[in-house]
């Protein structure tokens, strides 16, 4: 499965990539574009080659920490309307504690490490970079 997509994310594909009969707990995190103020959507751009490398490193770290888990993530790029998902992470493990922990680990590292940027688009047609 590709880690980056320019199309709506299909959570079913992510689940199919991680679930198995040995993994009794599955946790899904979805990050959705909020309609803050008059935001109609967010245009996501990335340093794509580095993003893919970094995602693979993060997933490998999760696998080292929770060896029986399987985690997959997909980040969407391009213009995403408010209400649609920009990122989905699915983590499956034999038991729920590891599934939740692995999923949490991956989203927190994503926030710190992926070279991805957001430009919020407003109803008035203006765009502003999100730099916090």
């Amino acid at each position: 499965m590709m880690h980056l997509t320019r199309h709506p994310i299909d959570v079913g594909d992510l689940l199919a990539a991680v679930q198995s009969a040995e993994r009794g707990g599955t946790c899904v995190f979805l990050g959705t574009v909020r309609n803050d103020a008059d935001v109609t959507g967010i245009d996501y751009s990335a340093y794509e080659a580095m993003t893919v490398d970094e995602i693979e490193r993060i997933l490998a770290e999760a696998h080292e920490r929770w060896p029986e888990s399987r985690v997959m993530l997909q980040h969407r790029l391009g213009l995403i309307p408010a209400g649609e998902a920009s990122i989905a992470i699915a983590a499956a493990a034999p038991h729920r504690d590891a599934a939740f922990a692995a999923c949490r680990y991956v989203i927190e590292e994503v926030k710190k490490r992926l070279p991805i940027w957001k430009k919020e688009l407003s109803a008035n047609g203006r765009g502003s970079w999100v730099e916090k």
């Binding site: 990050g31 990335a46 920009s86 926030k111 490490r113 991805i116 430009k119 999100v130």
Partner: protein, 82 residues
């Protein structure tokens, strides 16, 4: 001298007026030296913070990392993925 590729992203690409270029630096040179050269060649990038995040060959590095001929330095605005 070493020729180093430089990539600009998001707001920094707007400041530079392009998303890719190359600069020559006298060796030995660091990422910090490349950024100093970039500020001369692309005056708009002087609006970047004093120590912008940088990556060397797709890995985040500090400004004292050494660069070689053919390396790729990327200047990264504050990250906001997710």
């Amino acid at each position: 001298m070493a020729k180093v590729s430089v990539r600009f992203f998001a707001r920094y690409a707007e400041l530079a007026g392009c998303d890719w270029s190359a600069v020559n630096v006298s060796t030995p040179a660091t990422v910090g030296d490349v950024i100093a050269r970039v500020r001369e060649v692309f005056p708009g990038t002087q609006a970047m913070p004093p120590r912008p995040l940088a990556a060397l060959n797709r890995r985040q590095v500090k400004h004292d990392a050494l660069v070689n001929e053919g390396d790729e330095v990327a200047l990264l605005p504050p990250l906001s993925g997710g």
